[in-house]
């Protein structure tokens, strides 16, 4: 009897384990589980017989029956895990997509080179203690010319190709309130700054300027940056250092060589035009070195008459001013060779020469953006 029973248990175990292994689906496996471990299951029935056994019988048969239950339970769990894995694998396999299909194109806008360069200038000059000033583009004759020592009959006016505002052509040139011209340079901001502030003054003033001129290298609207320092004891030497420091920082080159040439602006005395040296690299002019010279800005010591026109004592205060084309700076630094597309709004050009929103010029991260 004992042997028999033992044999029955072993047989049942073998039978059930085979059935479990043969279950091809979770449903089939569940049927096997019910058949073995359900309320009426064969293993359950065997367990129920344990109560009726004598202690001796229990000792001999007990481990076998419990062993059977454990083996079957484990086998079912293992089989279930396997079948679930297979099912998941199959599901995932069925869900496969073509990962080479395109994702949504990112939206990437651009900052115009002129704006970028203006930000670069603000950063470089902030380091030298210059604030950023601005003034109106529709300017009074007095601010644009008169206060800058350019009276109406001055021959220098001929160089300015001024746009006049309709209805204002014959107005009083000494009117300091109502605009008469489109500013021909950013220099009137010097006047406004000196009138509104007490020295010491250090400012730059970038902005739009206008001259009635249109050819391959001139547009009727362009951008300039003005610089002004008014303090005590400022000389041409300070001007030279400031321009050198600025251009070296702007082009990120130590080999920037400046050449000052005496020139004439009615609002500075002495006046100098500033050439910067360039080298020829692969047929292109690159700033730095001194193989040739190109004019980049005009400058000089602020004329005593201009200082006086702003209500300051020219015997006490003196300083320098300079003006520089921003569009041209951008072209020299970033390699555009034509000015006219600057103002076309051609998206292809803007995408090509524009800058990312994240290209914020900083002293620590660089004031120039590598190509």
């Amino acid at each position: 009897m004992t042997d028999n029973t033992m044999t029955d248990t072993d047989d049942l175990k073998t039978h059930l384990l085979v059935a479990i292994e043969a279950s091809a689906s979770l449903d089939a496996l569940e049927a096997v589980r019910v058949d073995a471990l359900g309320k009426q299951g064969r293993v359950t029935q065997l367990l129920k017989t344990m109560g009726a056994l004598s202690p001796e019988e229990r000792q001999t048969r007990g481990p076998a029956i419990h062993g059977l239950r454990e083996a079957v339970t484990n086998a079912i769990a293992a089989r279930k895990a396997h079948l679930e894995q297979v099912a998941l694998d199959a599901q995932l396999a069925s869900e496969a997509l073509d990962m080479t299909l395109p994702a949504d194109a990112p939206l990437s806008g651009t900052v115009h080179p002129v704006s970028q360069v203006m930000d670069e200038l603000a950063e470089i000059f902030a380091d030298l203690g210059f604030a950023v000033a601005s003034g109106p583009e529709m300017e009074t004759d007095w601010h644009n010319f008169g206060a800058l020592n350019i009276p109406e009959t001055h021959p220098a006016r001929a160089m300015h190709d001024t746009f006049y505002l309709a209805g204002r052509e014959n107005s009083d040139p000494n009117d300091r309130e109502t605009p008469r011209v489109l500013r021909t340079h950013t220099s009137p901001v010097q006047i406004r700054t000196m009138l509104a502030n007490t020295p010491p003054i250090r400012i730059i003033a970038p902005g739009r300027t206008y001259r009635s001129d249109s050819d391959a290298t001139h547009t009727p609207m362009f951008h300039q940056v003005e610089g002004l320092v008014i303090d005590k004891g400022i000389t041409l030497g300070h001007l030279k250092w400031t321009l050198e420091t600025f251009l070296k920082a702007f082009f990120e080159r130590d080999d920037i060589v400046l050449r000052l040439r005496p020139s004439y602006f009615p609002f500075t005395e002495p006046s100098a035009e500033v050439d910067v040296g360039y080298s020829i690299v692969k047929g292109k002019r690159v700033i730095g070195g001194s193989e040739g010279w190109m004019e980049v800005l005009g400058s000089g010591m602020v004329h005593p008459k201009v200082i006086a026109a702003c209500g300051l004592d020219p015997d006490e205060w003196q300083g320098f001013a300079f003006g520089c084309g921003i569009d041209r700076l951008a072209m020299l630094k970033y390699g555009m060779d034509d000015l006219r597309p600057f103002f076309d709004g051609d998206i292809r050009w803007l995408k090509h020469y524009g800058f990312s929103a994240l290209d914020v010029p900083t002293l620590s991260g660089g004031v120039g953006m590598p190509a």
Binding site: L107, G109, F130, G167, M221, K240, G354, A357
Partner: protein
């Protein structure tokens, strides 16, 4: 200002090389704009003798020459009728380029006979108009020498840019003076001849002393106005002037040589004496350039008893101009007031070599000498006899002096220059310097006005390149932002716009009337626009961007997202503005989204709000109202306002009529952000309020309302929010529906309301009470809770 090297050397005794002179010119402020060497284009042309001339076997009009150009006989085919044995002419060898047409000569067969070059005409060498035959040089011209050398054509032409202050350098003599001061040689004073005039001078007088304070004149009678001497004609040609006749050329020559413009009248064409007087409004004169000018009061002219003969100091009149028939002339040497010349020239839009000089101011002390030199040259080259000189008026010498401190060279110019050196420089330039350093500028430097000008003269001659850079001292104290709050708003919105996928454009501040028309009346126009396209100051940034959008779409760009930060120009002034135009595809067609989609008013609204948020505007408090303007679709646009009056932005779909005017199709949306209206954040320190998150979870409740169609979502949401301002922290529309199940003239609007409990959770009764308040508040807007 152009002159030749030999011309300069008439005034400057120097052995400096051309390069040294060019260098010095630029260094002292006379920027060299160009140098041309006419000899260069005659490279390869030599003096040659024709040894023999035979008829060409195949052509009647050609000859076969044997030419000796220094290296033995060469066979040359020539068609010139004057080619003959013994002639000495100019030979171009193979490889030389013919100046007139750029053709490079080569060995070639002409009608079967080899030709090894060309005998040239004056026209081919651009030396004249003669093309009837080849050049004939004197018998003794040295065969084999370069023709340019032989003919003395190797005189480099130098062009310098003369700044408006340098009146003296409008003449070769003044340039020589500057060079001499800079150490390039010794100035040669002009020779002033003594002209013995006979009898009284011509009848000239002054009525307008303000415009013409001095009018000197002399007559020459019995002259012959032939061609100018070749040396003079050659120099004028070299600087690009066409020789006309001896009389005209003499005045042109002196204008350049000494910066002394003169005018010569044909006496036979004058009726009575000449008077310098103010023009009367409407008087006309045909000038020497063939154009007729209408003069007006304030201009100074020279007239006789019946007609105007000269726009004083600018251009002579055609009627009394000299010709080959002229035998009797009045030579005028006057001083015109620079301001009057400038104003007259500007008004007439007329420039001339004379104006350029009178406007800067000619030397007021050089009238007598200038006239004597002119008369001498006329007598020399035209013959005749001179009258005495009439001197009407007196030129203002403008004598003044300045107390100069030589230390200023260093304290202003940044360059220490020894006082004695400074004195030497100033004296070389013609300034008088006394022992107390009172400096008197020369009569030819009316621009010098104050000691800063004296510093400039010293520095310019000593060498501005010697000024050493000196670091600006650092500004004491802590670094603060150097940009103003307004500038920071511009920067933030710019970078935010670019980060949102918008491309920044810079478009013209002025546009055409047509472009501006839909955007309201333009307040400002240009009196002298460069074209009709660039005439009206823009009252809005949108027309420029719409035009750019149209160009981009036409060029095949699929999606246009453009923005610009700039000013619009209003009657009261200019205002910082950001404009956006969205056109083309908002989204390209794609495998996920299907068809492409266009931009609508809500895209514009999203941009407006995002950029206002970037600018730091209180976007949660903004009201959406109407009146975006005529450029927008009236039903699909709005304004964002801070309070009822402060408009921060206008946005919406662009009006179909405007789209049509700009040739735009599809859907176009636009935004205008009024940057100047955004309140700038004023710093209240860096410290932020303490972080205090609510202890309890918020509760969400949804309400679906049936709302009359004309009630705005904003009105409903505001009402809902207002139902309990403490508990309701947020309310937003999450669904809008019309159609089946919704009554005609109504819409279904679903609102999500977020309730924030304070210390303890809401009870059911409290929630019910809040819900009732929400429904009641909505009901005031005509909304009914849907069942």
């Amino acid at each position: 200002m152009k002159f030749t090297l030999s011309w300069l050397k008439d005034h400057l005794d120097t052995d400096a090389s051309l390069d040294a002179i060019l260098d010095a010119l630029t260094r002292i402020g006379l920027e060299v704009e160009g140098v041309t060497d006419p000899a260069a284009k005659l490279d390869g042309f030599t003096v040659a003798r024709v040894l023999s001339a035979e008829r060409h076997p195949q052509a009647d009009k050609l000859q076969v020459l044997s030419v000796d150009a220094g290296d033995g006989p060469l066979q040359v085919v020539c068609g010139a009728p004057n080619a003959r044995a013994g002639l000495v002419g100019v030979f171009g060898k193979p490889g030389a380029a013919v100046p007139a047409n750029g053709m490079v000569l080569k060995v070639a067969a002409i009608r079967g006979v080899e030709s090894n070059g060309m005998m040239c005409s004056t026209r081919e060498l651009e030396l004249g108009d003669d093309h009837d035959g080849i050049i004939e040089l004197p018998e003794d011209a040295p065969v084999g020498t370069s023709f340019a050398d032989y003919a003395g054509l190797g005189d480099p032409v130098i062009e310098v840019s003369v700044t408006p202050n340098k009146q003296d350098c409008m003449g070769v003599h003044g340039i020589a003076r500057d060079l001499a001061a800079a150490g390039l040689g010794t100035l040669i004073a002009p020779t002033v001849p003594q002209v013995a005039g006979e009898g009284a001078g011509p009848d000239v007088r002054i009525e307008d002393a303000a415009g013409c304070p001095a009018f000197f004149a002399q007559e020459v009678r019995g002259l012959t106005n032939g061609a100018a001497p070749e040396w003079m004609a050659k120099r004028l040609r070299a600087i690009g002037q066409k020789p006309i006749s001896a009389l005209v050329d003499i005045t042109n020559y002196l204008t350049v040589d000494l910066g002394r413009p003169l005018h010569v009248y044909d006496k036979a064409k004058l009726s009575g004496g000449l008077v310098a007087r103010q023009a009367r409004d409407g008087e006309t004169v045909e000038a020497l350039n063939g154009k007729t000018y209408t003069l007006s009061e304030g201009m100074t002219l020279i007239a006789d008893d019946v007609a105007v003969h000269d726009i004083g100091g600018i251009m002579g009149g055609a009627h009394s101009g000299v010709s080959e028939a002229t035998t009797e002339v009045v030579i005028e040497c006057a001083y015109f007031t620079p301001e009057v010349i400038a104003r007259t020239g500007q008004k007439l839009g007329l420039t001339s070599d004379a104006r350029q000089r009178f406007e800067r101011g000619v030397d007021p002390a050089f009238l007598d000498d200038g006239l004597a030199i002119a008369t001498f040259l006329v007598l020399e080259y035209c013959g005749g006899t001179a009258s005495g000189v009439t001197r009407a008026g007196e030129a203002p010498l403008g004598t003044r002096s300045y107390a100069y401190d030589p230390a200023r060279a260093e304290t202003l110019g940044g360059l220490a220059v020894a006082p004695e050196r400074q004195r030497a420089i100033l004296e070389a330039l013609g300034f008088a310097v006394d022992d107390q350093w009172n400096v008197t500028p020369p009569t030819w430097r009316r621009d010098v006005d104050g000691t800063a000008d004296l510093v400039e003269e010293v520095i310019r001659i000593e060498g501005i390149d010697k000024v050493a850079p000196v670091p600006l001292p650092r500004v004491p104290g802590v670094a603060r932002p150097t940009a103003t709050p307004e500038q920071r708003i511009e920067r933030r919105t710019r970078r935010a716009a670019a980060a949102r996928g918008l491309d920044e454009a810079v478009t013209w501040s002025f546009l055409s009337e047509k472009q501006v028309a839909p955007f309201g009346e333009a307040a400002w126009r240009l009196a002298n626009p460069i074209s009709e396209e660039l005439k009206v100051m823009r009252p809005s940034l949108l027309p420029g961007l719409l035009s750019a959008a149209e160009r981009n779409l036409r060029q095949g760009v699929e999606s246009v997202r453009l923005f610009e930060i700039g000013r619009r120009y209003l009657p009261e002034g200019e205002r910082a503005t950001l404009g956006i135009v969205l056109a083309g595809d908002r989204r390209a067609r794609g495998w996920r989204e299907g068809k492409p989609a266009g931009f609508d008013a809500y895209d514009a609204k999203a941009e407006a709000l995002a950029l206002l948020a970037a600018a730091g505007a209180p976007v949660d408090n903004l009201q959406v109202m109407g009146e975006a303007g005529a450029a927008f679709h009236p039903g699909r646009s709005g304004t964002l306002r801070l309070g009822p009056k402060t408009v921060l932005a206008a946005f919406g779909a662009v009006h179909p009529a405007v789209m049509k005017a700009f040739d735009l199709g599809g859907q176009v949306a636009a935004v205008e952000l009024y940057l100047d209206a955004i309140p700038a954040k004023r710093g209240a320190g860096f410290m932020r309020p303490a972080y205090a998150p609510p202890a309890l979870q918020p509760v969400r409740r949804d309400f679906a309302f049936l709302v009359p169609a004309d009630v705005s979502a904003d009105a409903l949401v505001r009402a809902v929010k207002g139902a309990d301002k403490v508990v309701i922290t947020r309310a937003r529309v999450f669904d809008v529906f019309t159609g089946t199940g919704v009554a005609e003239g109504h819409k279904s609007v679903a609102v999500e309301v977020v309730l924030q409990p304070a210390e303890k959770s809401f009870t059911e009764a409290e929630l019910k009470a809040i819900a009732d308040k929400v429904v009641a508040a909505a009901a005031k807007q005509g909304a009914q809770l849907r069942g």
